[in-house]
Symmetry: C2
Subunit: 248 residues, 2 copies
């Protein structure tokens, strides 16, 4: 069933009003009519079954029917931070980590980033749109927060608020000491931030700074992953560890 | 260090001859000279340190220095089978599952595949090239086998040879019963084939046929993954389960 994210203010006593892009989507793309049903997710992550009552020239009016049980959210709030790289790669990663359950996404200008950050609000708007669409398609009940691009120093400050702080570091990969697994086994119910490097990787100076601010280096296995594959591995590992039930 | 895959016949008593594309790469792209060193992987997955002795107008002659210990191969031979979809998506998945350690790759024409298979050897050649490049970049010692496209019936026959046979099935995702984890915990040293569907998913008829031929349905978590994300999740789960050491 088609899924729409709404702001809490769009709800008034079991009635919902949808305007703008989603209105266009319901009316012109899905060609829905009164009595058709959709799923509506509010800002608190609640999911409701709703029925279309009326489609006017500017809005769709719906009636909430019932609240649905919904457990599509990962039981850890994981924010993915990737070294700034080309726009298409960022967008692909954002789309996929949204499917894989990330709660947030940002990029960081790093020593080996080959592109410069653009002071451009359209980049952020585009990313928000991608996050929303991917959340809808993967049937999530929350849209990941898109935070934009940070300087390295700004990122270190931003990261203070997270309970788990890790970064993927090739040098650690060879040790393969199970650090990632040990951390993920304790992640349920926590907030986590995961930094992966740009094409050239994380520099040793950056690694030292990260460690001094409480970040733990983790290996992602013995093969070298591209910068756009590493975040997908980490998010898959979170999902696998937290969502594929143990035998015991 | 730059890595080249060679056929066993290119080796003759500690001497190796490289021609063709790799010759061009060594001479014109990397601009290497005698005494420069490279890593050479033979068809058995052995990795050798080698030194350039001579670069002629048609070939590079190298001397093997020593065999390197190399543990970059996943300890399960996993073949990824995906429902036939657009060429770019197939190629992206092939590239990423190679980084993530897959031993083989193929596509299957399925009920909900929206594209038709092309009788075209250039598709296969292109895929082989992608697999080789991704294996080199991720520092693997083996190139995944690229098997081309199968009919569904042909795929069922091909799959007979594998010890573990699983398919990602959305209907199972909601149960979230830990089947994937139970299977992966027994996968070390085994051969496995993993089928993921095309955009529209695997039909219930196909699911029944798969089960009747020994395939086990597994869920990949509560969110709906795109057809090009599902294989990456499965390969990441294999790597995480087999390569991130347990505490115990």
């Amino acid at each position: 069933m088609q899924r729409y994210f709404i702001q809490n203010e769009a709800i008034n006593r079991k009635k919902v009003v949808i305007k703008g892009d989603d209105y266009h989507h319901i009316r012109n793309v899905m060609r829905m009519r009164p009595q058709d049903q959709v799923t509506v997710c509010d800002e608190d992550g609640n999911v409701h079954l709703a029925e279309i009552e009326e489609i006017t020239a500017t809005e769709v009016r719906l009636k909430m029917l019932e609240r649905l049980e919904c457990a599509s959210e990962l039981e850890a709030k994981v924010t993915v931070a990737m070294g700034l790289t080309r726009r298409e790669k960022q967008e692909e990663v954002l789309r996929r980590v949204t499917e894989l359950g990330a709660s947030g996404f940002l990029t960081v200008s790093m020593e080996r980033s080959v592109v410069k950050a653009k002071e451009n609000s359209s980049v952020l708007e585009r990313q928000k749109k991608i996050a929303k669409e991917a959340a809808e398609q993967s049937q999530r009940s929350r849209i990941p927060d898109v935070h934009g691009n940070f300087t390295f120093a700004g990122f270190l400050d931003f990261a203070e608020r997270f309970e788990i702080k890790i970064f993927a570091y090739e040098e650690e990969a060879k040790k393969n000491d199970g650090t990632l697994r040990r951390i993920l086994k304790t992640a349920r119910g926590k907030s986590a931030i995961v930094l992966t490097g740009p094409e050239g990787g994380i520099s040793s100076k950056e690694a030292e700074l990260l460690k001094s601010r409480g970040f733990v280096p983790v290996g992602l296995g013995p093969r070298i992953l591209r910068c756009e594959t590493a975040p997908l591995y980490v998010m898959s590992a979170f999902g696998y560890e937290l969502e594929s039930e143990n035998e015991s």
